[in-house]
């Protein structure tokens, strides 16, 4: 039982190392500003009875319509000679009280409906939500008006009307969250332990829904104050002699031209009040629900930032290589921490050659490949070292425009999931035509013919018809063929293929691989092939580099590495590949996890998971050792030396 009770999901903000909610809120300058202003307004409104204010309802015809800063009337007087400052503070009290009451009522009934609908599901959910949908089919204010029309004008009736029309917002939000929670393990556990539905709902579910209720309240309370003021402004809310900010504004409107201050002042008060609540509400939302925080979404710029410190490696190009990358370092800077995703990588791709980069997810293989043409998102990524030479041209010092010209022409890309990498709203034909015309000033019709030709090249049947298809209308394999066709639009010298077959069925995988392999041979294109799958490597790659924690741990020809891996990690990875027809073979998952790249060990990064690790492995960084035949390994005790020992 106790285990169950402590099981409910912990709000993210309680995770260790994160500042408290209050601290986060105060870090937000605007939210703090809102809080200060709101607190001041609330305090003054609460203190109204003890403040030395004139009676808000005492009329003094002799003193009517005094301007602000008059003797004894700081904000002047209204048409009946009443002190505006006093009326303003008393009116604010009323408006605040009405707005907050309406919010509480709406939150109570809305949350209740949402909780019940989300928890009960089925028919109850359908009926409740249909009702809510019907209410939401009304323009918000209009429904409030209709309710006031029926109940009759008056502040309390306006309060009810505004509360009722806001119920759907709460019901919807809370239902969504409850629906997710109702299927969670801790709810099942509570049910098995014999708790009643009501107990589960209010003891187990409600605490987890509370943040959402608070968020919805903080984002709607401003609205409700505004709307009740609006009804009063129309003469449908507060009735004289009672006054809230809205009715003060409504009264002042009649003498707008002669004494504008009478209406401007209460309006300004509503504005400041609502604005401070909204500022605070945004802050509360950002703290309680970080996913919604708009600031968390940084816009990636067109090209990865390059801030190469220190030495740029000797740039004498390897004449045999089309693509020659040296000492590439790419980092992610997130919240003051530095993640060294790629820590000094050399890649060489010759004409018509296929270099495979193999590693687990998070090893930095994709980041290495995406760094070449600056496709790593900045922020947070940045290239901090190395050179990438495309036929001798340093890509990291090229202009943005030059990079744009090379992207898709000299260097093209094929990505992992062809459904998310093709634009869902444009036809395949339009996307191909765009790829063609990005680097070739041809007419649309000519580009379309070429697009058709490209689809034929990648063996898509009926290409003229397929041009009109949208990506979602094609199968996964077809989509990836389209992506490959796009990569072939301009006789690329190098194709960077980032797990191009991972998202596909095995049979389709084989087709796509053989297609890539054939095209590479026909066109003499270099391929940089990223994968986590040694099976795929053996099908297409001439040479392989095995990556771990941002570095290559072993390089060599495919045959060498597959038949006699030198690095313990490589051997483990190869052991992970299932072999057809050997169901009994136990796949050796590698124990442990790769190290975090913001906290790399001093010595070998694989040592903590390596059965052969010795103290010397952990002492100092380990360099790549030449093993002959162009093989290298980053290991002090490679497996290939076992025979010699």
């Amino acid at each position: 039982m106790t285990a169950v009770e402590s099981a409910p999901i912990q709000p993210a903000r309680k995770a260790s190392g994160r500042p408290s909610a209050t601290r986060l809120l105060l870090n937000n300058t605007l939210a703090t500003g809102g809080l200060v202003v709101l607190a001041a307004i609330v305090l003054i409104a609460l203190a109204a009875p003890i403040l030395p204010l004139a009676d808000p309802n005492v009329t003094a015809p002799a003193n009517r319509l005094l301007r602000p800063l008059s003797e004894g009337h700081l904000l002047g007087t209204d048409a009946l000679g009443r002190d505006i400052l006093s009326r303003l503070i008393w009116g604010t009290r009323v408006s605040l009280l009405v707005g907050i009451s309406a919010t509480l009522i709406a939150a109570f009934f809305g949350s209740l409906i949402g909780l019940v609908a989300g928890y009960a599901g089925g028919r109850i959910d359908t009926v409740l939500m249909r009702g809510i949908d019907m209410v939401m089919a009304f323009p918000y204010i209009l429904l409030a008006l209709a309710i006031v029309a029926v109940l009759g004008p008056g502040l309390l009736n306006a309060l009810y009307a505004i509360a009722i029309v806001n119920i759907p917002f709460f019901a919807r939000n809370i239902r969504g969250i409850t629906l997710g929670l109702a299927r969670r393990e801790f709810v099942d556990a509570a049910r098995l332990s014999g708790k009643s539905n009501a107990q589960i709902l209010f003891i187990e579910v409600l605490p987890n829904v509370l943040p959402v209720i608070v968020i919805t309240m903080s984002t709607t309370v401003g609205w409700m104050i505004l709307e009740t003021a609006g009804l009063s402004f129309l003469g449908l809310g507060a009735q004289p002699p009672q006054a809230d900010l809205g009715s003060m504004l409504g009264d002042g409107r009649k003498i707008l031209f002669t004494a504008p201050h009478v209406s401007i002042i209460p309006g300004l008060m509503i504005f400041v009040l609502v604005m401070s609540i909204n500022l605070l509400g945004d802050g509360v939302r950002d703290v309680l629900d970080p996913r919604l925080k708009s600031g968390a979404l940084s816009r990636p710029v067109a090209r990865t930032a390059v801030t190469r410190q220190g030495l740029v490696p000797d740039a004498a190009p390897d004449p045999a290589a089309v693509l020659d990358v040296r000492e590439l370092r790419t980092e992610f800077h997130i919240g003051g921490e530095v993640f060294k995703a790629v820590g000094g990588v050399d890649m060489r791709v010759g004409k018509g050659e296929c270099l495979g980069i193999v590693g687990e997810s998070g090893s930095g293989k994709s980041v290495s490949a995406m760094s070449i043409m600056g496709l790593v998102p900045t922020p947070p990524g940045r290239i901090t070292g190395g050179v990438a030479l495309l036929e001798g041209e340093d890509l990291f010092s090229a202009s943005d425009e030059r990079i744009r010209q090379l992207r898709g022409s000299a260097v093209s890309h094929v990505f992992q999931d062809p459904l998310s990498t093709l634009h869902p709203l444009f036809t395949v034909g339009d996307q191909l035509v765009e790829a063609i015309r990005a680097h070739e000033p041809v007419a649309k019709s000519a580009a379309r013919r070429k697009a058709e030709e490209l689809l034929r090249t990648v063996r898509i049947p009926n290409p003229a018809e397929r041009l009109k298809a949208y990506p979602h209308e094609l199968s996964g394999g077809m989509r990836q063929r389209v992506c490959i066709a796009m990569a072939l639009a301009h006789d690329a010298k190098v194709i960077i293929a980032d797990e191009p077959t991972t998202a596909l069925d095995v049979t389709v995988q084989a087709q796509v691989l053989s297609l890539l392999d054939t095209l590479r041979a026909e066109r003499d294109t270099g391929v940089l092939f990223i994968t986590h799958d040694f099976g795929v490597v053996s099908a297409i790659c001439d040479r392989v580099a095995v990556m771990y924690a941002g570095q290559f741990v072993e390089t060599g020809t495919t045959e060498q590495i597959l038949s006699s891996p030198a690095h313990p990690y490589t051997a483990k990875l190869i052991d992970c590949v299932p072999v057809l027809g050997e169901p009994d073979r136990r796949l050796d998952a590698i124990e442990g996890r790769p190290p975090m790249v913001n906290d790399l060990p001093k010595g070998c990064a694989f040592a903590p998971r390596c059965p052969r690790a010795r103290d010397t492995c952990r002492a100092a960084p380990i360099g790549l050792t030449e093993l002959g035949d162009g093989r290298t390994v980053r290991c002090l005790y490679p497996l290939t030396e076992d025979g010699d020992e």
Binding site: M134, F138, R253, G408, F415
Partner: protein, 314 residues
């Protein structure tokens, strides 16, 4: 596609029926004798009894609804007791003005909101973004009825650029330029809140879209950054913003109540306020019903536009 639109139209029918149920239910909830409430405090008992009979109020509620619905289909929404004219005539007369005002405001807020949102996203954290974010915050916090008063003070009273109220000049007006001249301030005021909401959402949608894989694909193709943002990203963002514009239509139609009152615009909103104050309940009922139906149609239009943009929905 046409089949889809037809399907959406059919799906709107139950919603419209739902509206009639709610409108009817609200009126049925009037405390006390509805006929008395409809006719006002000074009605003679004979008239109250006659209306009770006319409205079929002595029958069960469900039956009452269908009688009311039947009358509705024949265009009979009852008579306004204050104006002693058929409700439908008054409502239709007024609806035109509301449609012009709300329609213009909706176009304004869509255009301004989208532009501001895109600029804000493209210049994220830059001064333009900060300025837009702040103005948007003001826009969604400002009471529109107060803003209308301020604009009247500045642009109508002091600068005399625009008229302070009405839809046409009393003398010698009536043409389109005259209408636009009168329309500018109220339409702008009405658009402010919705502009803020749409701008905020567009910014978020753009930032979200710009992180998608297909944007990286566009960049990998060598498409210019301009095209990446204004063609690829904008179209994808638009798909998420369009339904919200449909929802904003509701806020604009509702907000028209304030703006029509402030600018004395002869639309349904200002009519409703008067009708509520005078307890002319059948007129309120008719006005609410027509505006709510218009909102359903606006949403339908947003649905159709979204379908045209997004082939996955067809």
């Amino acid at each position: 596609m046409i089949a889809y639109i037809a399907k959406r139209l059919l799906a709107a029918i139950p919603v419209l029926f739902g509206l009639t149920v709610i409108v009817f239910a609200i009126m049925a909830l009037i405390p006390g004798d509805p006929a008395q409430a409809i006719l006002g405090n000074f009605a003679t008992p004979e008239n109250v009894e006659k209306l009770n009979r006319d409205l079929g109020l002595d029958k069960p509620l469900v039956q009452q609804y269908f009688i009311w619905l039947g009358n509705l289909f024949q265009g009979d929404l009852g008579r306004s007791y204050m104006q002693n004219r058929p409700v439908l005539d008054i409502v239709l007369e007024r609806f035109n003005a509301t449609l012009i005002l709300a329609g213009t405001a909706l176009v304004l807020c869509s255009v301004l909101g989208l532009i501001a949102g895109v600029i804000s996203a493209v210049r994220q954290y830059g001064w333009a973004d900060k300025a837009i974010t702040f103005v948007v915050l003001i826009g969604i916090s400002i009471p529109s009825f107060w803003l209308g008063l301020l604009l009247i003070l500045v642009f109508a009273v002091n600068l005399r650029w625009f008229p302070a109220s009405g839809m046409y000049s009393i003398f010698g007006g009536g043409d389109l330029p005259d209408l636009l001249h009168h329309l500018f301030l109220p339409a702008l005021t009405l658009a402010v809140v919705a502009t803020g909401v749409i701008a905020r959402l567009t910014r978020t949608a753009m930032l979200e879209v710009l992180r998608q894989d297909f944007i990286r694909t566009a960049r990998a193709k060598g498409v210019t950054e301009r095209s990446v943002i204004y063609k690829h990203a904008f179209k994808a963002a638009l798909v998420t913003v369009i339904p919200v514009i449909g929802i904003q239509a509701g806020f604009v139609l509702g907000g028209a109540v304030y703006i029509e009152t402030v600018f004395q615009w002869p639309g349904i909103g200002s009519m409703l306020v008067t009708a509520i104050s005078t307890r002319d309940l059948l007129l309120v009922q008719g006005g609410v019903l027509v505006v709510a139906a218009a909102y359903v149609l606006f949403n339908l239009a947003a649905d159709v536009v979204q379908t045209i943009l997004d082939p996955r929905l067809r």
